[in-house]
Every structure is written in C-alpha cells, then in structure tokens.
C-alpha cells in the first residue's frame, strides 16, 4: 500500500544518487514540486528519462543533479531552447551531460513495454531516420510471420517514477485526469514511485473507466498543492504560460539562473 509521506521524506527515502529517475507528465501535471525537492536535497548523478524534458529538467540539469538524459524532445514548448540543457551538453556546465535520444513513438512504446514487464518494445519506427546511427539502443528485428523489418528499443524500467496527479483518496488510490500522457505506464514500469497530488480526499469521484492507480501499485504519496505549477492540473489551475516565456530569459544566463534557483528553490522548503 502507498505510504503517505511529506515530499521531503519521500524524496529522501526513495531517490538515491545514481538512480535512474523518470519524471513524467506530458505538458500537463509535470511534477515541479518534486523536481525542486530533488534539487534542494542535492541529488547527484541521476540518469533522467523523460519524453519532453522541459523546464523541470532544465532546472535539475542546471542545478547539477543529472549525469545522463534520455529523451525525445527537449525544448521549452512554443518558446525555444532549454538553455541549461544546452549549456550542459555543449559546455559541460555545471557538469558534463550525456544524452541519448529517441523519437516520441519509440519512448511511448518503451514505457508501455516497461509497464508490460517486457524487455523490449517493437514498433514501425525510425524508417529512414539518422537517429539509429547515433543511438545504439535502437535495433531492428524481423517479424517471424511477415518478414517485415521493425524497430526494437529496450523498455524503460527505471528505479524511480515521479508523477503529479489531481488527487488521492485516504487509502492511497490515485486519480489522473485529462492529458494522462505516460504517467500510468511509468509508475507501473518503475521499481519505486512517488506521486505528488493536489489534495487528499475521501472519495476520488472517479468515473467507471477512469485512470486510477491503485494504492498497492504506488510506493509513496505526498500532498503538494500546486505541485505541477507552472505546468497545470486540469480542474485545479491553468498553465502559467508567462512563466514559460520568462524562463527563456532566466535560464539563458548562468548567474540569473543561479539567483532564481536560490530564491525560488533553495530558500523555499517543501512541506
């Protein structure tokens, strides 16, 4: 059964230096509060996996938490580059960052296969792309029935999954609604999981086929109101598009970034 912990305690107990960590949320429900707590606890040498490493990973990379990044689209959506990510890749600041890149389809299938307990995902992918030339984890297999050549990628099975959701009930069952992305998959694929929620309620109010993670499939739950901001939580608050635009200026410069980090992360503790 899921344990209810403070975010500080959950991160401290379940994320270790060197772990492979997936923080998911496809634009929606991005676990920013958890990312900030990881920064505050100065976790190091993490292999970070995420389809769309946006601001949350830019911040964690800039803060020195990451050793490697596996991703399929790394940008500030609708705005531009992730400057901290680029600085780490191009200049090795604050430390060298290794990258391994996929397409969305391959990563989605790799998460699906991870949740399904399989070692590989098979897809009709990467045809004609140069990505297999720079990612040695992409292989090709032949269908034993049709002879068709199909792409194969290793499944994602991280040490820790971190997601944000709308709410949990008091038994620890979690409801995710709206753009559900890859969140169910990453929690089921991971050895351990931390779910931050907007609130803990008596009754989830879930419809009959809702995306619900049962308590016994989750390791720890931490209440973190506005825990996805500046991303959004459907039914709770909207995306802070202005901050996404402002981030471009903050992240472009190392000093500005460090000041922002000090004021907005280090000097603000989680509950």
């Amino acid at each position: 059964m899921a344990e209810f912990l403070s975010l500080k305690e959950a991160v401290s107990r379940y994320i270790s230096n060197g772990d492979t960590v997936c923080m998911e949320g496809f634009t929606h429900l991005i676990p920013f509060a958890a990312g900030h707590e990881i920064i505050r606890q100065e976790k190091r040498d993490l292999t970070l996996i995420r389809m769309t490493p946006d601001l949350v990973y830019d911040q964690m990379i800039g803060a020195g938490c990451a050793r490697k990044l596996i991703f399929s689209w790394g940008g500030n959506p609708g705005v531009g580059s992730l400057h901290r990510l680029r600085d780490a890749v191009e200049k090795g600041w604050p430390n060298k960052l290794e990258i391994l890149e996929h397409s969305h389809a391959a990563m989605a299938c790799a998460y699906e296969a991870g949740a399904a307990g399989l070692p590989l995902a098979v897809l009709r992918g990467y045809v004609g792309s140069d990505l297999p030339k720079v990612n040695d984890q992409i292989k090709f297999i032949e269908c034993p029935f049709t002879g068709e050549r199909l792409a194969a990628v290793p499944s994602v099975r991280p040490d820790v999954a971190v997601i944000h959701a709308q709410r949990a009930d008091r038994k620890g069952n979690v409801l995710i609604e709206g753009i559900i992305g890859i969140q169910k998959e990453v929690v089921l694929a991971a050895k351990r999981s931390i779910v931050t929620v907007e609130e803990v309620v008596d009754d989830l109010g879930a419809s009959v086929n809702a995306c619900v993670l049962p308590s016994w499939a989750v390791t720890a739950i931490a209440e973190a109101p506005k825990g996805a901001s500046p991303s959004y939580a459907l039914g709770y608050y909207d995306r802070d598009n202005v901050f996404y635009k402002e981030w471009d200026g903050i992240a472009r410069d190392r000093d500005t970034f460090q000041n922002w980090l000090k004021d907005n992360v280090f000097e603000k503790g989680a509950a």
Partner: protein, 258 residues
Amino acid sequence: MSLEFTASEMMSVTAARALTSDMTCFVGIGLPSEAANLARLTHAPDVTLIYESGTLQTKPDVLPLSIGDGELCESALTTVGVPEMFRYWLQGGHISVGFLGTAQIDRYANLNTTLIGDYREPKVRLPGGGGAPEIATNAKEVFITVKHSRRTFVKDVDFVTTVGFGRDGKARDNVPNIGRGPTVVITDLCILKPDPDTKELVVTSLHPNVTREDVIDATGWEIRFADQLDTTQEPSAKELDILRDLKARTNAHHSGHQ
C-alpha cells in the same frame, strides 16, 4: 482591389487550404497548429485535429502554446494516453495527414530538428525528433509548412531526423506499410511539391508578389520551377479576419500569469 496581408499570413492561409473536412490531421505545434485551426474555422469545419498529447478531435478556441495545453483536452472528443496515441491512432493507420514544421528541410524533403553541425559537436542543438519521425512514415501523407530561408532550405540536411524521401529520393521505395510522405511544402514564398519521379522538391506556385528570384535567393540548392507555374490565390478578407482574430485571442490568452 487587393487586401493587405503579410507573408506569414499568406503562408498560414495557404497551408490551411491544404486541409479538407474529411481529413484526420496529426498536428505539430507552431505553424502547423495555426494553419490547421484556421482551416477548421474557415472552409474545413469538420477537419479532425489530433495532437500527440492524446487529444482526439480537438477544437481549441485559442492556439495552444504547448502540445498539451488544457484547452486541447477540454475541447476534445476524448483524451487517450500517449502510447495509445502513437500505437493505435498513428501507427494503426488512422491519420490521413501529418502536418509538420521543421528547422531544416532539404531538396528531398528530409527534415532536421536535431542539430546544426556535427552530432557530437553541434553548432546548434535543436529540440529533437519528438513525434515527427513516425508521423512522417505512418501518416498517409505529410504536409510541411516552414518559413523560406537559406538557413532552412538546404541542399542536404545536417541530420535526417525525419525522412522525406531520403538522401537519394528513394527511401520509401519498396518499404512496406509506409505513407506517401511529403506531398506539399508551404512556405511564406511559394508552394513546393515533390517531382513524381525524382522526388526533388519543385516550386509549383508562387505567392502573389513573389518572384522566382526571391525563391532562388532563399533556397540553398538550385531550385527548379514547374513548367506550369501557378500564382497562389491570395487570402480572402474572411480568411484574414479569422486568422487575425485567432491570433489576437491566442496572444491575449497566453499573456497573463494564470
């Protein structure tokens, strides 16, 4: 009497016109999203728009800044998980058109959104492939919209993130279960289509007030022009009104802290 409009508006209106109500369109963020929603608000009210965030048949009132804005979900018929989106809806063969933007495009309509320069020593690191590599092969056809410049229109892309017709124009030949690939490229200067045989991009229509020289200057290879070169129909007052309203609504929506 002619209306006044910008090259960007010309591009969006022309791109929008490529879509019809019976299409199911997998929409990339940015220019494709603008064009697709303009189509929906003008001549193609029943066009089905799908975003990779899982939103099926969505009808946003403002353009999304990200591929997964709340607006997309709230106005969708339903929202599915991302694995289902890529596996069932795209790879499953339900998408008639993939509508893509790009950072670089070459004469065989290969797209590069990965980097400029060498992979290990990039001059500019771009966001990466995202959904495009499989959209380009699993959708029945692909529309591309991008601003025309020598930086963008290069003879050979630095990196084939997303295949058009490959380095030699033959990448789709004899490949089973693959879409037709790019059938049209719409820029702020012209419309290009692949030559039926060689697959090299050829200018088939110049936008009003654009010359051959304008296109030649903005293209990084010796661009060819179709024997029968058309002039693109200029935007109507209605198209411009709706586009400007849409952009004004969008700017207002994205300009305040939530």
